[in-house]
């Protein structure tokens, strides 16, 4: 904002100074330091170098997922058997698999599958966990007790075991994989959010809201949820990496996404055992893609945590 202050000053014979009028220009100049987009990036690079690296990977993945059709004109599911197991080269930059499918294309489209499953699971899982955790803290008593014991039971199972059990019950497929991964996320988020919400519940403005006769839903949604967004966002970003890894694990075990869909875990499963020696590229590229994606989301999640957590921020 630009602006200035203009004062009309009269110096009398007696030497007194009289300010007769002060004009304030409409526009003020902002004297705070200028922060450009590049400056912000530079600042982030300096303060969160690893987080920035993670963000680059995440952005690259999103770009691949969104613009897959532009990045490659090849159908990821199209078999070209005459080119089966072609080594990386000019024709196929990352080589082909046992069905002659272009691995680069399948890696690009695989990002779409990974992100679709990752975001869906992370958003639904953490959102349900948020509502459940805040409600559990807000109502307390028997409701809290029951919810927390159920959470204890679900959290007693390792993530992959619970996901395997769910998908074994429901059957393989993208929809069932999303359900299988989402279910274990809900109690994890609920537990973390609840611990924050318990402290907020004791703050007087919640009592004030109650005294004003606001509904429970309004108190939870408008006065408590916004105040637990920091842990929620941290959980959300950490779930993204976990969901991608879980989807890949389930697909690798043959219980996730099914052929011919391009999915990194499935690509690994199709090539790791049989072609590890004779055509290692079949397993190497999807393996690298999975590692990079999880690495990127974890780094990015850590950076978000460091930024949002007041204690870490002050350090």
């Amino acid at each position: 904002m630009r602006g200035s202050i203009r004062a009309f000053v009269t110096v009398e014979d007696t030497g007194m100074v009289t300010v007769s009028e002060i004009q304030v220009e409409e526009q003020f100049e902002d004297l705070s330091p200028k922060t450009t987009f590049m400056g912000m990036i530079s600042l982030m690079l300096r303060k969160q170098p690893l987080g920035s690296f993670g963000a680059v990977i995440v952005i690259a993945m999103v770009f691949m997922a969104v613009f897959a059709e532009i990045l490659t004109s090849i159908d990821p599911e199209d078999n070209n058997l005459e080119y089966m197991l072609t080594a990386p080269g000019e024709m196929f930059f990352l080589g082909t698999d046992q069905f002659g499918r272009d691995l680069l294309t399948r890696i690009i489209y695989g990002a779409r599958t990974a992100l679709f499953v990752g975001f869906t699971c992370a958003i639904i899982g953490s959102s349900l966990g948020l509502v459940l955790g805040v409600a559990s803290a807000y109502f307390g008593g028997m409701f809290d007790l029951i919810i927390q014991r159920v959470v204890d039971v679900i959290m007693a199972f390792p993530l992959i075991i619970l996901a395997l059990a769910v998908v074994a019950t429901l059957g393989p497929g993208v929809e069932n994989v999303i359900i299988a991964i989402t279910i274990p996320f809900i109690p994890q988020c609920a537990r973390v959010v609840r611990s924050n919400a318990l402290a907020i519940r004791e703050i007087p403005y919640i009592d004030a809201a109650r005294a004003l006769g606001f509904s429970h839903v309004r108190i939870i949604m408008r006065h408590m949820v916004p105040n637990v967004m920091a842990p929620f966002l941290i959980m959300l970003t950490s779930f993204l990496g976990q969901a991608i890894l879980l989807e890949a694990s389930l697909s690798y075990l043959g219980m996730g996404v099914q052929e011919p869909t391009a999915a990194w875990g499935l690509m690994l499963q199709g090539g790791a055992e049989e072609y590890a020696e004779s055509a290692p590229w079949v397993a190497v590229w999807p393996g690298i893609a999975i590692s990079l994606a999880v690495f990127g989301f974890n780094l990015f999640g850590d950076a978000v945590r460091d930024t949002l957590d007041p204690k870490l921020r002050s350090q």
């Binding site: 199209d78 089966m84 069905f99 393989p172």
Partner: protein, 536 residues
């Protein structure tokens, strides 16, 4: 370069293996002693051969039992070469216009518990298989439709009387699942006892079974074939994954896996172990099918089913899939190497077997439009086993997509797969298979009959049943062949009840020190191990 090298190495190994295998069996003197260790993928649901249909049971349990007759172990590729196992001399010819078979049993045969084996035991066994009491399962009862009665004139003679002469009786009798049980065991313990217990008269005696780990057998010193077995014992090691099986052979923890490996595994083993590996290969009496569910629209429409089969380029599939999967041969309803099988010229008259795939796919699209389902969308139900199910399934989906159909794949673990296929029948089009042991075309082709117990297409086809009945009763091979072509045309082309993808191809790389074992056109055959020896 490396590919050429690999092909050359494989060719050398296969050639050398086959050549050496044949000449070695003739020239080399078997050595006694040693324990054969081999890997078995999969679990055996029970030990009872009469109810089971899986190689996982046969590979572990077959060496404990004898059969009345068996496929010639030295010539297992010949579908008409049978020899006596418990019976004496040569396999008897039929008398009374082909309706009576009289077998004389060898003397002095004993069960592992020391009791003598008589004709009463053989009769009790085949009574259980052919005429099981209500509530008692028998997987191969339908193979013996022609059998009218079984009698035992004396302790060493057994007579089978048939209602009509049929060439399918002797092959059915040689089925490796027809373990001869002790009548005393059946009488004392009931018909379920053999599910969990073993008392046979085979070359090996049961020692222990650590489920999920291994099963052990030890040489039967009272075995009825003189000088056999050569081995002191065997150990069947459970291997959950193919990669583990390959590594077990590579690391010399096991000498063989008898089901079969894909070509890539063979190439890797040959490349790594050179002449320490011998490779035996054979056509395989197994075929992967596609079964449309006739109860679900639009698969009740012949045009839609024909479009499905027209979309598949089998000739190209054979060329390429044989490099990555255990499938190879294009064929009709009969095992391709058999004299009753269709020639290439005959096959090419069927829908979906033509040389011009573009024309076939154009016809498929025309049929789908006529049926009111252009760009047909459906879900293909498959079994969660890589070789060859998932490989062939992925290829078939691509073939249909190239025809303009939209196909999703639903892969289920084996128990869920069977439940969906056999009980729920909630699939659009499902993968299915027809795997048999002894090559017996007349029995094997019953799979395509809507009335067959192992047909899951939910259809009735009276003309097809009539043709089959004529095949069954025809004594003349030329007439049988002509009728089978009619049957094949109706089942695969005119009505397109089911579609055949490719016939399997068996590849068995094994340690070269394992001698005497010969590959058969089935993973169920030649697993008695009494002729196997170790040259270490």
């Amino acid at each position: 370069m490396s590919n050429t090298y690999t092909k050359f190495a494989v060719s050398l190994a296969v050639g050398a293996g086959l050549a050496l295998g044949v000449s070695a069996a003739n020239a080399e003197t078997p050595k006694s002693g040693g324990i054969l260790e081999f890997v078995v993928p999969g679990k055996a649901p029970s030990y009872d051969g009469h109810i089971e249909t899986t190689y996982a049971m046969i590979h572990r349990v077959r060496p404990f039992y004898s059969l009345l007759i068996r496929v010639n172990p030295d010539n297992p590729s010949d579908p008409s070469d049978f020899v006596c196992d418990l019976c004496a001399g040569a396999v008897p010819a039929a008398t009374e216009n082909g309706t009576k078979y009289t077998f004389k049993l060898q003397s002095g045969v004993k069960f592992h518990d020391g009791t003598p084996l008589t004709s009463a035991d053989v009769k009790a066994t085949f009574d259980k298989i052919i005429f099981p009491p209500a509530g008692v399962a028998s997987a191969r009862k339908s193979f013996f439709k022609a059998v009218k009665s079984i009698t035992t004139p004396d302790a060493s003679t057994i007579v089978f009387k048939l209602s009509f002469p049929t060439g399918s009786f002797i092959p059915a009798l040689a089925t490796p699942f027809n373990f001869v049980y002790s009548k005393a065991d059946l009488d004392a313990h009931g018909y379920s006892w053999h599910k969990m217990n073993i008392n046979g008269s085979g070359a090996f005696k049961f020692v222990q079974h650590q489920k999920g780990a291994f099963l052990e057998g030890v040489k039967n010193p009272d075995y009825h074939l003189a000088g056999r077995p050569y081995l002191d014992g065997y150990k069947a090691i459970t291997s959950a994954k193919m990669a583990l099986s390959i590594q077990a052979i590579r690391g010399n923890r096991a000498a063989a896996e008898f089901r079969g490996f894909p070509p890539k595994a063979r190439d890797d083993l040959v490349k790594a172990l050179g002449n320490k590996i011998t490779v035996q290969e054979s056509d395989w009496n197994c075929v992967l099918l596609g079964t449309p569910n006739h109860k679900i629209k639009p698969f009740d429409d012949t045009r839609v089913r024909q479009a499905l089969t027209l979309g598949i380029d089998r000739w190209s599939g054979s060329k390429y899939l044989s490099k990555i999967a255990i499938v190879k041969t294009v064929g009709g309803v009969v095992f391709p190497s058999h004299s009753l099988a269709a020639t290439k010229k005959e096959l090419m008259t069927l829908k979906g077997y033509g040389a011009d795939i573009k024309a076939s796919r154009a016809e498929a699209n025309k049929l789908l439009k006529e049926a009111g389902v252009p760009g047909l969308a459906f879900t293909f139900h498959n079994r969660g086993v890589d070789q060859p199910y998932k490989i062939v399934g992925t290829w078939m989906i691509d073939q249909w997509k190239k025809t303009g159909m939209k196909v999703k794949q639903q892969v289920n673990p084996t128990p869920v797969f069977y439940d969906t296929l056999r009980k729920k029948k909630s699939f659009d089009v499902s993968v299915d298979f027809n795997c048999q042991s002894v090559i017996n075309p007349i029995a094997d082709i019953t799979k395509f009959l809507g009335s067959a117990g192992n047909n899951y297409g939910s259809y009735e086809d009276k003309p097809l049943e009539d043709i089959y009945n004529n095949i069954l009763k025809s004594g003349d091979v030329a007439e049988q062949r002509r009728l089978i072509r009619q049957y094949e045309k109706r089942a695969l082309s005119d009505e397109a009840r089911m579609m055949i993808s490719l016939w399997w191809y068996k590849i068995n790389p094994h340690r070269s020190y394992m001698k005497g074992w010969k590959i058969a056109p089935s993973h169920y055959l030649n697993q008695h191990l009494d002729n196997v020896w170790l040259d270490k």
